[in-house]
Symmetry: C2
Subunit: 160 residues, 2 copies
Amino acid sequence: MPDAKHAAAILAAQAAPRGKPTNYPEPFASRMRGREKRPLGDVFGLTNFGVNLTRLAPGAMSALRHAHSKQDEFVYILEGHPTLVTDAGETALAPGMCAGFKAGTGDGHQLVNRSAQDVVYLEVGDRTPGDQGTYPDDDLQAALGPDGKWRFTHKDGRPY
Amino acid sequence: MPDAKHAAAILAAQAAPRGKPTNYPEPFASRMRGREKRPLGDVFGLTNFGVNLTRLAPGAMSALRHAHSKQDEFVYILEGHPTLVTDAGETALAPGMCAGFKAGTGDGHQLVNRSAQDVVYLEVGDRTPGDQGTYPDDDLQAALGPDGKWRFTHKDGRPY
């Protein structure tokens, strides 16, 4: 039956920002300054995938450059001009452009806002169990636990 | 390893339209006139979920009003003013608005373009096996086969 708790539709920019800005441990958490994520799928009770409306202030980044073992990801640029960084190099993005990151390629990706204006984009990722994150540029690795929470360690397995 | 077949990013509006405009049998297929879907996730080899850039000409609809048993769905309006129709009634949408449809609620949904201008939106849906589609307003039901293709029948099981 319809769930009366959920609005039929919302203005995405009015969704509440995520309570905890980042799951990364320090010293990585501080590098996420200027990034604001508004979970949109959660507003409607979606669980199979997540959708965020994410804003990057000048100088901010989407995430550490990373790759997922099982989660596909997709981004669609709504405002501004971020730079997409992958193993292949850098690609200038603009509103109306999109990119997808297939799980399991090992090719790390991130968006960086090197412009003087905010960047706003939609990001989509599924929630396949057993997902792992790898970080080619940082001493970090991540594993998605059965409770749906990420666990971060050094690459040699030591906890942060 | 990175897959050289895929571009790093594309302009979504330049993605190729879906070859087969609709999977519905007649008389439903003809009702999808004026709807054009550009698969975006496929461009990047994504398989866990699909993303389409969909354009509705004046008078066109997103789909027959329907509900999924296992697939979550999400839409984000980029241009124009579609009307969202659900069991609760009608909701006027506008650019920057979004809506999500949790699997299993049984609440059928569709977007209808009753305006004089085109509507453009992003739609996301996962590909959970065993999904079924129900159509409250039409003599139609759908089942996702193990081959990833939809099979449509009358509500009493007779094939179209």
